[in-house]
Amino acid sequence: MKTIKSLLLSLVATMFLASCADDPEGPSSTQYYGDCFHHVYNVMSGSYKIFDAPRYEFEFDYSALTADITIDNVKFADGMPAISMTMKDLKWNVKNKFKTIEASDVIPVVDGKEMPEYTINSIKVEILDRYVGAYYEPIININFIVNSAFKVTAVQKHILYMGETTVTSGSSSNPFTNNTPMYQLTIDKELTAQLKIAGAKFAQGMPALDMVFKGIAVGINSGVGYSLNSEKLIPEINDVPYPNYEIANLDGEGVFSTGLNLSFECNIKRISDSNEVIITPYMVNATLNYEVY
């Protein structure tokens, strides 16, 4: 798999198709969303289930400022058949650049009939229409509570972050800061993540690297965000492991509505001319958000 092409092109190919009947400032638009899985938290039992491949359709009315939401392939528990539910005429507006739909106590329509047993106690949808270069890279946050029993979070599978990366190393007293690296986070339904850093640099004058961290453990905080953890991992560059760039103590705290704070250590090993192993430690802290730099 080629690194730089997959970073952006795969997202466009798989994730999101924005279809507008007219110009977004016209009367209405329809958006589809499927690049996510449902993390369903059972309030009673305290356990959670993952259900893959829900499909969302949003119809925005720009004059009435109302929106219709249709969710296909929805399940809340094992053994339950997948259903399709529609909620109509929900109020929406723009908050902090996100198109935001908020509503409470909504009775959805399933198979043409209102289903009070699936009452949506509260629902919040945030959509940031974002372009990175020529590519559409939206941020979609969705969470809702069903019948006071299930907290559903639609976890976006592919999220692109940018922001400030600060690197401190033992050999230099001045931290190195830059905002050119791009962080592509991919979360799968097994709750493991792959983080790809395109253009990672640890020092001035160092060539930029496209590093991939695989197998990061993910925890979901329903409706709020997620965590990333890994004690030790070997990054890959261009599908080749780089043991001499071993990563340790990777920690990430993601908040769906704002961004991701990430930190890790990178201990770069090199062999000197006298065959001595020299290790240079780097501490990386990244404060990432959804801004485009």
Binding site: K2, T3, I4, T180, G199, K201, Q204, G205, M206, P207, A208, L209, D210, M211, I237, N238, D239, V240, P241, Y242, P243, N244, Y245, R270, I271
Partner: protein, 748 residues
């Protein structure tokens, strides 16, 4: 074989001595024919010394005496004008007053018999029967447009209207250097004259390649010119000059700074075919003159280089190009009483097809790619699957431009006031195709250092096509004031301010950097840059402030020209190292420079027997701002531009009244240049050096024989220095040389 050839030529010349002939006499040093239609006469004046311009005119006498047959021979003769002799005929680096260019756009324009040469790669060629060379210093952009920011050179060849006869030349000198030329000038009617000239030269050069044991600066070249001058009527003059040149050079004599040896293993050569035609038509009436200058130029060349200049299999470069250009300049000029005016329209179109592959070879792959990559990851090292691979590049570039210009002058008593303006629009488009098809294998060496366990195989396939385009608009003003001194012979003091520019465009040589970055990117290293950022650059602009004087004593025996100047240059076109890359560079308009200095030229003729000419130029040219991403060079001297140039020549002619010799001339000359810094850091330099030359001429009305010597003291000096993949190389100047030149003129 060559000796027989020479003897045959000399014998032919001797046998023609028996033919009755008339002598046209020696060519004057500053011959200006009012019958010629020259571009400088069309746009300025036939006498440059009445203009508010710092200029040097080299006449036929000096040209003959110093064997000037190419522009590089004029170096240092005009103050602050330096054209180093290195590389091949494609290398036409010119530095004037601290401004210069090694690659891409030139800072000095060149017209040959009114044909504007648009590509500086064409500037270096030989010509026979050069009658006059004008070197105008300071921006000439208002009247001549693009790429005349440092000045303009006009070369004029002998007019068949002025001279009719047969001219033969045979020359032999050091380095087994041979040159022959034949020209025939005829006037068919009082109003129609034509000339045909041809030449051939060859040399074994002066330097050997240690690797092959062969000469590495040999050359063979030839050319032909057909000139037609037709006075169609009392008011219409026409001149057409068609020429063709072929040259083939083997090798680049670049020696390692460490070993002082020229030692490289791959083929190096440069060959070129050039065709030009220039048609000038001038129409005069009572009120104004209208002139049209049209030209066509075609060049087909091939430069192939061992780009590392080492006896190692690093990489080679080939650049094959076919380029053609059309230009059209229409100038109207007139005066009404004390007011004179000039207006013009200039258009041009240039199209170029280039194929420029870089071939990476075994050692180059190992050192430039595998080594860097494997240092970063010794546990999973890579090994290229092929011993060589090609980074291919094809380019199609089209450039066109249009300009209108105007100049007005007004005379009040002894004062001449002049102001001009030019509006210049240019558009350049580049279509590129970059390609590469290679692969490498990654090995798992976590348990063994041997390349046994294949981890994976990677293809590196690049097939990029794209197009870029830029447009530029430049407004180029000039103002000047001249005070004409109350002397018998024209003398004046002047001051001027003028703006010049060097065109923007695309540096296709930078595509190799783009492709290298692409390959590194395939391996997960480095950043991919926008191609336009890497190869594109905008115009460079300068403003020249100057005061000067042209002085002639009342008895006419002493001419002196002096000038002081200050130039500030903005948006300088430089190569930069953007952050994040180990090998890549980008073109950028990133610098500001300033340059100031003085120039002086003197010609002294105390009697008909003696002539002394001398010139001196001093330039202090420095970066005001220049940070290339790795270092800050502000305050450093601009590399490759000399601080001093000087030339001095003394000629003595003793008339003799014998049957075989009418006169005996001696010339002693000295040219000097330096110091020159070779890098932006000013860490490597060539100190000032001087080269002594001399000649003795036996003259007859029909023929002349020159015995000459150049660099008599065998001074060692460097004409060029550069660094390639961390290794320093230089080209040594030519050693001491002697030769003999036989000229025969059978005047009709």
């Amino acid at each position: 074989m060559r000796r027989k050839y020479i003897i045959t030529i000399i014998g032919l010349c001797v046998s023609l001595l028996g033919v009755r002939a008339q002598s046209s006499g020696a060519v004057a040093d500053t011959t200006l024919s009012l019958q010629e239609i020259s571009v400088s006469a069309i746009k300025q004046s036939s006498n440059m010394r009445v203009q508010p311009i710092s200029s040097t005119t080299i006449g036929g006498g000096v040209i003959n005496r110093l064997n000037i047959d190419a522009m590089k021979n004029v170096s240092e003769m005009a103050p602050n004008f330096y054209m180093p002799d290195y590389g091949t005929r494609m290398t036409s680096s010119i530095y004037v007053r601290g401004l210069g260019a090694r690659i891409d756009q030139p800072v000095v324009g060149l017209n040959v018999d009114n044909v504007p040469f648009l590509n500086k790669d064409n500037y270096d060629f030989d010509a026979v029967d050069i009658e006059r060379i004008e070197v105008l210093r300071g921006p000439q952009s208002t009247l001549y447009g693009r790429n005349t920011m440092g000045g303009l050179i006009n070369v004029y060849t002998l007019s068949p209207m002025k001279y009719q006869g047969l001219r033969l030349l045979a020359e032999y000198g050091s380095g087994n250097s041979l040159k022959t030329a034949v020209s025939y000038y005829a006037k068919f009617q009082p109003r129609l004259a034509m000339s045909w000239s041809g030449y051939y030269s060859m040399t074994d050069g002066f330097f050997d390649n240690k690797y092959s044991g062969a000469d590495c600066d040999t050359e063979k070249q030839g050319g032909f010119r057909w000139k037609t001058q037709w006075r169609i009527s009392e008011s219409v003059n026409l001149e057409n000059v068609a020429s063709a040149q072929l040259s083939r050079q083997e090798g680049y004599p670049y020696a390692s700074i460490v070993t002082d040896e020229i030692n490289y293993n791959d083929t190096c050569f440069y060959k070129r075919t050039g065709v030009t035609d220039g048609l000038t038509i001038k129409w005069l009436n009572d009120k104004f003159t209208l002139s049209s200058i049209s030209s066509f130029q075609y060049i087909d060349d091939n430069m192939t280089l061992d780009q590392d200049f080492l006896p190692l299999e690093y990489f080679t470069l080939t650049q094959k190009r076919k380029e053609w250009a059309l230009t059209q300049d229409v100038v109207a000029r007139g005066n009404v009483g004390k007011y004179n005016w000039l207006g013009g329209l200039f258009v041009f179109y240039k199209s170029s097809d280039m194929n420029a592959p870089v071939t990476f070879k075994d050692y180059g792959i190992d050192q430039l790619i595998e080594k860097h990559r494997n240092e970063a990851n010794p546990y999973y090292p890579v090994n290229w699957d092929d011993n060589t691979f090609v980074l291919g590049s094809d380019f199609k570039t089209s450039t066109w431009g249009v300009a209108i210009y105007h100049q007005s002058g007004y005379k009040i008593g002894r004062w001449d006031f002049s102001a001009g303006i030019r509006l210049d629009y240019e558009h350049v488009a580049l279509n590129y195709h970059s390609y590469c098809n290679t692969s490498y294998t990654t090995y798992d060496c976590t348990e063994t250092q041997e390349l046994e366990n294949v981890f994976n195989n990677h293809e590196v396939k690049i097939d990029d096509r794209g197009s870029l385009d830029k447009s530029f608009v430049e407004l180029l003003p000039k103002v000047s004031v001249t005070y004409n001194l109350p002397t018998i012979n024209p003398s004046n003091i002047y001051a001027s301010v003028s703006k010049g520019y060097k065109a923007g465009g695309y540096n296709t040589q930078m595509f190799s950097d783009v492709l290298q970055q692409r390959i590194m990117k395939f391996m997960g290293l480095g950043m991919k840059y926008d191609i336009d950022d890497v190869v594109g650059y905008d115009p460079e602009e300068s403003t020249n402030y100057e005061i000067g004087a042209h002085l002639t004593t009342n008895n006419g025996i002493l001419n002196a020209d002096v000038a002081m100047f200050y130039i500030d240059c903005r948006d300088q076109q430089l190569t930069m190292f953007p952050d994040g890359t180990t090998t890549g560079r980008i073109m950028a308009n990133a610098g500001k420079t300033r340059s100031y200095g003085v120039e002086a030229s003197v010609m002294y003729r105390p009697s008909v027997k003696w002539m002394v000419n001398a010139s001196y130029g001093l330039t202090d040219a420095r970066f005001v701002e220049f940070n290339n991403g790795k270092n800050d060079y502000s305050g450093k001297r601009i590399p490759y531009a000399p601080r001093n140039t000087m030339f001095a020549g003394v000629t003595y002619r003793q008339p003799l009244n014998t049957k075989w010799i009418n006169g005996l001339s001696f010339n002693l000359n000295c040219r000097g240049v330096g110091s020159i810094y070779w890098d932006e850091d000013n860490s490597v330099k060539q100190p000032f050096y001087a080269l002594l030359g001399a000649s003795m001429r036996l003259e007859h009305s029909l023929y002349s024989i020159d015995l000459w010597a150049e660099n008599i003291t065998d001074t060692e000096y460097k004409t060029f220095y550069f660094v390639s993949i961390g290794n320093g190389f230089y080209q040594q100047g030519k050693p001491a040389r002697i030769g003999v030149t036989l000229r025969y003129n059978f005047d009709i």
